[in-house]
């Protein structure tokens, strides 16, 4: 649709015409703000907890467990230096043998969701799939935060 619009504007005498091919999908998937009636409705990106503990692949699991629990968490997200998500440690994984590396204990490649998904849609998904938490990332895989069931069920 936008390529046709761009060409048509040129034919109408507009000299400098550009096309944003990524469109609204790309914009929203990057977690950038929008305006409009939906903008006021809660979305996954706004409700996700950005303060979820994070760790690296080569950390000792026991250290991550202690750090997470000191902060009141039963989960940690495994990321790299670019904040790209590699894995997830939930309570079950955090309780594994403390001396192993995070990379051995984590759930690799967890399902991720984009920040623009409406909270009510996330609530339904998490209820139907019995998920206590899901990872929210931008379209390029960078961590936004961890969305917990209680964050969307209210």
């Amino acid at each position: 649709m936008s390529p046709r619009a761009a060409w048509r504007l040129e034919s109408l005498g507009f000299v400098e015409v550009y096309e944003y091919r990524g469109g609204k999908l790309d914009w929203m998937a990057a977690g950038l703000p929008t305006e409009g009636t939906n903008a006021k409705r809660p979305r996954a990106g706004g409700l996700a907890r950005a303060d979820v503990p994070t760790c690296r692949l080569d950390e000792r699991l026991g250290d991550v467990r202690n750090r997470a629990r000191e902060q009141g968490w039963d989960a940690a997200v495994v990321i790299n230096s670019e904040r790209v998500v590699f894995g997830l440690l939930r309570a079950k994984e955090l309780d594994l043998e403390a001396d192993q590396q995070v990379s051995q204990a984590m759930r690799p490649a967890p399902s991720t969701f984009r920040p623009y998904v409406l909270a009510e849609e996330m609530a339904a998904y998490m209820r139907d799939h019995e998920r206590v938490s899901v990872v929210i990332t931008t379209s390029d895989g960078r961590l936004v935060g961890l969305l917990r069931q209680e964050d969307v069920s209210g």
Partner: protein, 67 residues
């Protein structure tokens, strides 16, 4: 020939005064649109663009994605 921009270029251009146009149906614009975008659905472009937009300033168009 229209040129492509990514979201970073778009942000800089809009800050610098480029006009941003969503060409999706009005209802979709009402739900969500990019900040500073105006709505001109594709079917109304011929009628509305000449009066609603400035030919001498850059114009960026977008829809949902490429479709």
């Amino acid at each position: 020939m229209p040129r492509e921009v990514d979201r970073n270029e778009l942000q800089h251009m809009v800050e610098a005064g480029a006009q941003l146009v969503e060409v999706l149906p009005e209802e979709e614009y009402a739900e969500d649109h990019l900040p500073k975008a105006v709505s001109i659905p594709l079917g109304r472009l011929d009628d509305e663009a000449p009066t609603a937009l400035d030919r001498n300033r850059p114009v960026i168009v977008y829809c949902w994605d490429i479709a």
